[in-house]
């Protein structure tokens, strides 16, 4: 089942092109414009190279759009005539959903890895502590894959999930100051660091790079808790569609 779903997602070349190509182009583009500039990241006065901020920010942003990998596949299986064919079989359909989610998370992680490697190897982005950054990236991926699927299964509509995730994917990067700097006030500091799950993941990663344990924990714990909550929500929702 895992290989089958891997093949299914591998066939979506256009999707991969968007989810890998876009962030790479955007990172290169913004880097070209602001070469050698440095911005204030807003975390305890720590200053990160702009390229590092861009790499983390765009990798996290496109993980949100990458959530469609799972919910669109689940939608095409369980909210279409295919559901009858699958339900008529003796196969364990919960395993099919889990396999779709797992495959989508792995594919999204590989996309993130390509984006990060491009930045590190080609653009020479300084990205220390990669061995700790990547697991956080994976956590963010799992969260967003679950989020998209929970919305889709709860609403019964791929369109609704797409609309919500697209809106979130457009707003969340702005709230961490990726597209333009946010005012340097206490309120905007909270918005930048904790307002969305993407902001939480961004804060954890910057905390890892800055070796700031309290900052890491302050964002990691809620992100982890929300991921577990979504995981728990998935169980009854899967049961609803995959009898």
């Amino acid at each position: 089942m895992f290989i089958f779903n891997l093949k299914r997602s591998a066939r979506d070349l256009f999707g991969h092109l968007i989810l890998i190509g876009f962030p790479v182009v955007l990172i290169a583009f913004f880097n070209f414009i602001y070469t050698k500039s440095s911005i204030f990241s807003g975390i305890h006065g720590q200053s990160l190279p702009f390229l590092t901020v861009l790499t983390i920010g765009f990798a996290l942003t496109f993980q949100i759009y990458g959530a469609s990998l799972s919910f669109e596949t689940i939608g095409s299986d369980f909210f279409s005539p295919m559901k009858d064919r699958l339900s008529a079989s003796p196969g364990d359909l919960r395993m099919l959903v889990i396999s779709i989610l797992t495959t989508a998370a792995i594919v999204s992680f590989l996309q993130t890895l390509v984006v990060i490697l491009f930045s590190v190897l080609i653009l020479k982005a300084p990205l220390p502590m990669l061995h700790l950054v990547l697991p956080v990236m994976m956590l963010s991926i799992v969260f967003h894959q679950l989020l998209g699927s929970v919305i889709m299964l709860a609403s019964g509509s791929v369109k609704t999930s797409n609309a919500i995730l697209s809106t979130y994917g457009s707003v969340a990067p702005m709230l961490i100051g990726l597209y333009f700097p946010l005012p340097n006030t206490a309120f905007f500091s909270i918005v930048r660091n904790y307002s969305t799950p993407m902001a939480l993941a961004n804060t954890v990663i910057k905390g890892i790079i800055g070796n700031d344990t309290s900052r890491i924990l302050s964002a990691l714990i809620p992100l982890l808790a929300m991921t577990i909550l979504l995981f728990l929500l998935m169980r009854p929702l899967i049961k609803k569609v995959a009898l």
């Binding site: 089942m1 089958f4 005539p81 009858d84 064919r85 008529a88 003796p90 196969g91 009898l243």
Partner: protein, 310 residues
């Protein structure tokens, strides 16, 4: 007994999809479930497979009560859906392998079955191609092949020829006949009379959720054998004239297809003068009478032309 449905009721809101529906199917039988769109054919199939619970009555499949949860029943059924349910982004081989795995086939069994099924459905040599490049008929055949991977004891085909060219349709009909001659039990739904006539050993006519009649083709025709079927072709037909024809007490049924009035009159009754009187003023091109067929059975029993309904 493979299938037994007793007084099955299924309601969707106010719509009664199955109304005291009864069906019996023995091993090796090919039952053609015939009815217009909306007659309840797909609901009947979904209830047999256990995809929907019924409101009342009882369904047993392979002698076991169908509650939708019995995996053993599911394992023994091959279901060909009305809509195409294949993964078009994948190859025919990947599709066959996936559905084989869903039915618990091992890798070795799948590897053995794929060429066998591909040959049956005429897709050998095309197995590695992405199915989105297939013609409509090839997709339909693959749709059937996916239901055959696990050698089901009962094959349920829900309008398997919808939307395909005559050549592919003939291929599928021949293929169903081959399956039947090999002893397969098949439940075949269609709103095409000629398809059901061609493949079924027993026919069940359903309309508005209940069984109108069932039996072999000769048995069904025998039910209306005493009736005369008069076909009158006119240059320009009229719904008003049809109403007037239906108002003649001696006429059992009357229908209009294009410019042809199809009139059913009980045997021995002379009513021709009344018919001519009604059709006066219309240019009659041809008058004919014919031996009843399944279409006539349907018309006589339901008062509808199946072709018009479909």
């Amino acid at each position: 007994m493979i299938i037994k449905m007793e007084d099955v009721m299924k309601r969707f809101g106010r719509n009664l999809a199955l109304d005291s529906f009864n069906l019996e199917m023995s091993k090796g039988e090919v039952i053609g479930l015939l009815g217009p769109n909306g007659a309840g054919k797909t609901t009947c199939i979904r209830a047999i497979i256990g995809l929907i619970p019924v409101d009342d009555g009882d369904i047993t499949v392979f002698g076991t009560h169908q509650n939708g949860k019995n995996r053993d029943i599911k394992r023994r059924i091959g279901y060909v859906t009305q809509e195409l349910t294949i993964y078009e982004e994948l190859s025919a081989q990947d599709n066959l392998a996936f559905f084989g795995s869903l039915y618990g086939l091992s890798k070795e069994q799948i590897a053995q079955k794929i060429p066998e099924v591909a040959q049956i459905i005429g897709l050998e040599g095309r197995l590695k191609e992405q199915t989105k490049h297939f013609s409509g008929g090839m997709k339909r055949r693959l749709n059937i092949g996916c239901a055959l991977m696990h050698d089901p004891e009962l094959i349920i085909m829900d309008e398997p020829t919808v939307g395909i060219d005559p050549q592919s349709r003939n291929f599928i009909l021949e293929f169903v006949k081959r399956l039947a001659s090999n002893g397969a039990s098949i439940l075949y739904t269609s709103h095409y009379i000629e398809e059901v006539e061609a493949v079924a050993s027993k026919i069940c006519i359903m309309d508005q959720g209940h069984t109108i009649a069932s039996g072999t083709l000769p048995e069904l025709i025998a039910r209306i054998k005493g009736d005369s079927h008069i076909l009158i072709d006119v240059r320009i037909s009229s719904e008003e004239k049809l109403k007037e024809l239906r108002a003649i007490p001696e006429i059992k049924e009357a229908a209009l297809i294009d410019n042809r009035y199809h009139i059913v009159v009980p045997g021995g009754i002379t009513v021709f003068d009344k018919i001519i009187a009604v059709l006066s003023g219309q240019t009659i091109v041809n008058v004919n009478s014919k031996q009843p067929n399944l279409e006539d059975v349907f018309l006589t029993l339901t008062g509808k032309q199946l072709r018009d309904e479909a």
